[in-house]
C-alpha cells in the first residue's frame, strides 16, 4: 500500500514536467512532421495535398547531400575539439583544483552562457578579422608579421562553435569525474598501476557517461547550426542549417524546411544509434 502510494506520488510530481515537454517539444515537432508531408503551406487559396515530394527533393538535388555531409563534418570537428579541450579541463578541475578555486573556475566556465549567443559570435568577428584584435596584438610585438585574419572561413566557424559549446562538455565531464570515488584510484595506485593505466582503466571508463552526454549535447545542435556559420563563415558559411533557415524565411516553404530538418535529425540519430553499441561494448570491456 505504501509503495503503491509512493509510486503515485512519483507520477504526480513528474507529471507537470512531462506535460510541459509534451506541449513545448512534442506537439510543435509533430505539427512540423505533418507539414513535411504537405505539397505546400495550407494558407490563402492554396490546396495542399499529402506527398513525399519534399523528401524526394533531398535525393534529387546533389547539393543537399553535399551540405548534409558538410554539416555532419562540422558537428564532428566541433565535437572533437570540445572533447580535446573540455575533457582535460574537467579532469583538472575535478581532480586537482580544490575548494573555493573550484567554484570560481566553474563560474568562469558557465559565464559565457550568460551572454547572448549572437553577441558572442559578433565578438568573434572582431577578434578573428584581419587587422582585428589578435592581428593588432601580434603586430605590436612583431611589426612585419603576416596577417592571420581567418574570419570568413571554415576554421572561424569551428572556433566560434567550440567556444559556444565547450561549457557543455566541461560540465558534463566534470560531473562524472568528480563523482569517481577517490579510494578506487588509491587502490589502483597501491597495486602499482601507472598514471596512464589508472586513467585508462578507472577514470576514463567511469567518466564515459558524462563524456557521451557531452558529445550528444554538442554534436546534435552543431550539425543543425545556421547562425554561426552564416556570420563567421563568409563564402564557406553555407550548411544544411542555413538552407533550412532560408526555406522558412526567404520563400515560406515550411514543408521543405521541415522535411530537410527531419532528414538531418534522422541521420544524426542514426549516427548516434550506430555509435552507441560500439561505445557501450567498450564501456563493458573496460
Amino acid at each position: 500500500m505504501n509503495r503503491f502510494k509512493r509510486q503515485w506520488a512519483g507520477y504526480g510530481l513528474t507529471a507537470p514536467s512531462y506535460l510541459w515537454l509534451t506541449v513545448t517539444v512534442f506537439l510543435p515537432l509533430l505539427v512540423m512532421f505533418y507539414f513535411s508531408f504537405l505539397s505546400q503551406m495550407p494558407l490563402g487559396k492554396a490546396e495542399p495535398s499529402l506527398t513525399l515530394k519534399q523528401y524526394g527533393l533531398f535525393f534529387q538535388k546533389d547539393f543537399y547531400r553535399f551540405l548534409t555531409w558538410r554539416s555532419i563534418r562540422l558537428g564532428i570537428d566541433v565535437t572533437f575539439f570540445c572533447v580535446l579541450f573540455g575533457y582535460p579541463a574537467a579532469l583538472i578541475l575535478a581532480r586537482s583544483v580544490k575548494g573555493r578555486w573550484r567554484e570560481a573556475v566553474l563560474l568562469l566556465i558557465v559565464l559565457p552562457f550568460w551572454s547572448n549567443a549572437l553577441i558572442r559570435i559578433f565578438a568573434w568577428t572582431i577578434v578573428l578579422r584581419g587587422n582585428g584584435v589578435v592581428d593588432q596584438a601580434i603586430h605590436v610585438a612583431w611589426p612585419g608579421a603576416p596577417s592571420i585574419g581567418i574570419l570568413y572561413s571554415y576554421p572561424a566557424i569551428v572556433i566560434g562553435l567550440v567556444h559556444s559549446f565547450l561549457p557543455y562538455m566541461i560540465l558534463t565531464c566534470y560531473i562524472s569525474l568528480q563523482a569517481i570515488d577517490g579510494s578506487l584510484i588509491e587502490a589502483g595506485r597501491s597495486l602499482g598501476a601507472s598514471h596512464f593505466r589508472i586513467f585508462r582503466r578507472i577514470i576514463l571508463p567511469l567518466s564515459l557517461p558524462g563524456l557521451l552526454i557531452g558529445v550528444v549535447l554538442i554534436f546534435i545542435p552543431v550539425t543543425g547550426s545556421f547562425m554561426e556559420p552564416r556570420i563567421l563563415g563568409g563564402r564557406d558559411g553555407i550548411m544544411l542549417g542555413t538552407v533550412i533557415e532560408d526555406q522558412f524565411t526567404e520563400v515560406f516553404n515550411w514543408p521543405l524546411g521541415a522535411a530537410l530538418s527531419f532528414i538531418l535529425l534522422a541521420i544524426v540519430l542514426l549516427i548516434c544509434a550506430l555509435a552507441y553499441p560500439l561505445l557501450k561494448s567498450r564501456l563493458r570491456l573496460a
Binding site: 494558407l43 490546396e47 558538410r70 558559411g237
Partner: protein, 360 residues
C-alpha cells in the same frame, strides 16, 4: 476530404499563429487611439522622432510590428486579420495582397500630400488598379554596386567590375537569391524580370567564386564589413552607401552601372478591416509628407522619397540627386516586378546550389 483540408488549414494557422505569438498575437485587440504598423525594422516608420511628432500632433499611439522578409508580411496579414492599420509593401506585391483580400483601397481625398508625389509613381499601375488606389507611393531606392573611393580613383562603369580578377576576394555580396539572379541577368545581358537563359545565370554566379569575400544580410552587417575594409566592391542598397559616406565618413560611393541597377518601390497600404482607418490615413499622410522625409534625411539612412517636393529639397550635392535620381540613371533602373512563388523557390534553389559550389 473537404473536412480534412479545412482541418489541415486550421492546424497550419494555429501553428503559424503560435509561432508569431511573440509579436502580434500577444498584443490583443486595438485601442481606438492606436495605429498598428507593419514594416521592416528601422525603415522610417519607427524613427523615434517621427513617432513622437506624430503622436504629439494627433494623439494617436504608434504600435510597430516587424518583418524580416516579404513572405512574412503575407503570413502576418493572413494570420492576424483585422489587426494591422498600415502595412508597408513593396509595390510589386500590392496587387497580390489586394487579390488575396489582405488590404483595402485608400481614400486619397484624406491624404493632403498625395498630389506632391511624382505623378508616374503616384499613378503607377502597381498601386492603381480596378479603379482604386491601393497604395500611396512612399519610398524608392536602388540596389547597385558600391566601391571604395580610395581604391577606385575613377568610378567603375560596368557590372563587369564585380567579376574582374583584379578584385579577387574583395567583393561583399548581398545574400539574397532574387538580387543575385537579377545582377547576373543584367551582367549577362538578359531581362532581369524574366531571364531567358538560367544556365547563363548559373555560370555567371558560379564565376563569382574567387571574387567573394563575404555575404551580408542586414545593412548593419554590410556596414561592419565596409568599415573593417573587408571589401572594395559590394552589391548594396544605395541609401546605405550614402549613409556610410555621409555619417560614417567612409570612403565609399556607388554607381548606376551601364547594364543597370535594381530598384524597388515601397507603397503604404491599409490592412483589410483595419481597426483604426482614420488613424491609418493620418499616419500615411504624415509618412508621405516632405516634413517626414526631411527629418529622415537629417538622421540618415533614408532612401528616396516618392514625394517630388521632398526630393527637390535635398542638397544639390547628395548622392541621391547626383547619381541615382538623374533622368538618365532612372532610365537604367530595373524596378522589380512581381515574382511568382515558383520563381522565388527556383531562385533560392539556384542560389543555394551556387553557394554550395562556393563552399566546395
Amino acid at each position: 476530404m473537404k473536412n480534412w483540408k479545412q482541418w489541415s488549414r486550421r492546424a497550419a494557422m494555429l501553428a503559424i499563429g503560435a509561432a508569431m505569438m511573440g509579436t502580434a498575437g500577444l498584443h490583443g485587440t486595438a485601442a481606438a487611439d492606436e495605429v498598428h504598423v507593419l514594416n521592416w525594422k528601422g525603415w522610417g516608420t519607427d524613427e523615434p522622432w517621427a513617432v513622437e511628432a506624430f503622436e504629439k500632433a494627433t494623439g494617436i499611439k504608434v504600435v510597430h510590428d516587424y518583418i524580416t522578409s516579404f513572405p512574412e508580411t503575407f503570413t502576418k496579414l493572413r494570420t492576424n486579420p483585422g489587426y494591422y492599420d498600415v502595412v508597408v509593401l513593396n509595390a510589386a506585391f500590392i496587387k497580390q495582397a489586394a487579390d488575396e483580400g489582405l488590404i483595402q483601397p485608400l481614400d486619397t481625398a484624406q491624404l493632403k500630400n498625395f498630389n506632391d508625389l511624382y505623378p508616374d509613381m503616384r499613378d503607377s499601375p502597381q498601386m492603381n488598379f480596378d479603379g482604386k488606389v491601393w497604395g500611396a507611393a512612399w519610398m524608392w531606392g536602388g540596389t547597385s554596386v558600391s566601391y571604395n573611393t580610395e581604391v577606385f580613383k575613377t568610378p567603375p562603369t560596368s557590372l563587369a567590375v564585380l567579376w574582374d580578377p583584379a578584385y579577387k576576394g574583395r567583393v561583399c555580396w548581398r545574400d539574397d537569391p532574387e538580387d543575385s539572379v537579377r545582377f547576373a541577368a543584367m551582367a549577362s545581358g538578359q531581362n532581369p524580370d524574366a531571364p531567358a537563359d538560367m544556365n547563363k545565370i548559373r555560370d555567371k554566379l558560379r564565376a563569382l567564386k574567387p571574387q567573394i569575400k563575404a555575404f551580408w544580410k542586414s545593412g548593419d552587417e554590410w556596414l561592419k564589413l565596409v568599415a573593417a575594409k573587408e571589401c572594395d566592391l559590394s552589391t548594396v542598397w544605395t541609401n546605405n552607401t550614402e549613409a556610410a559616406a555621409v555619417q560614417d565618413k567612409l570612403p565609399i560611393s556607388f554607381i548606376v552601372a551601364k547594364e543597370g541597377a535594381i530598384a524597388f518601390r515601397d507603397g503604404m497600404t491599409m490592412g483589410k478591416d483595419a481597426p483604426n482607418p482614420k488613424g491609418a490615413l493620418a499616419f500615411i499622410d504624415y509618412m508621405i509628407s516632405k516634413d517626414f522625409y526631411a527629418g529622415w534625411v537629417k538622421v540618415g539612412g533614408a532612401p528616396v522619397a516618392a514625394n517630388q517636393k521632398a526630393v527637390e529639397e535635398l542638397p544639390e550635392s547628395s548622392m541621391t540627386r547626383t547619381i541615382l535620381a538623374t533622368p538618365e540613371a532612372i532610365g537604367r533602373l530595373n524596378f522589380k516586378g512581381p515574382l511568382t512563388d515558383e520563381q522565388r523557390q527556383s531562385y533560392l534553389d539556384l542560389w543555394q546550389e551556387t553557394k554550395a559550389y562556393f563552399a566546395e
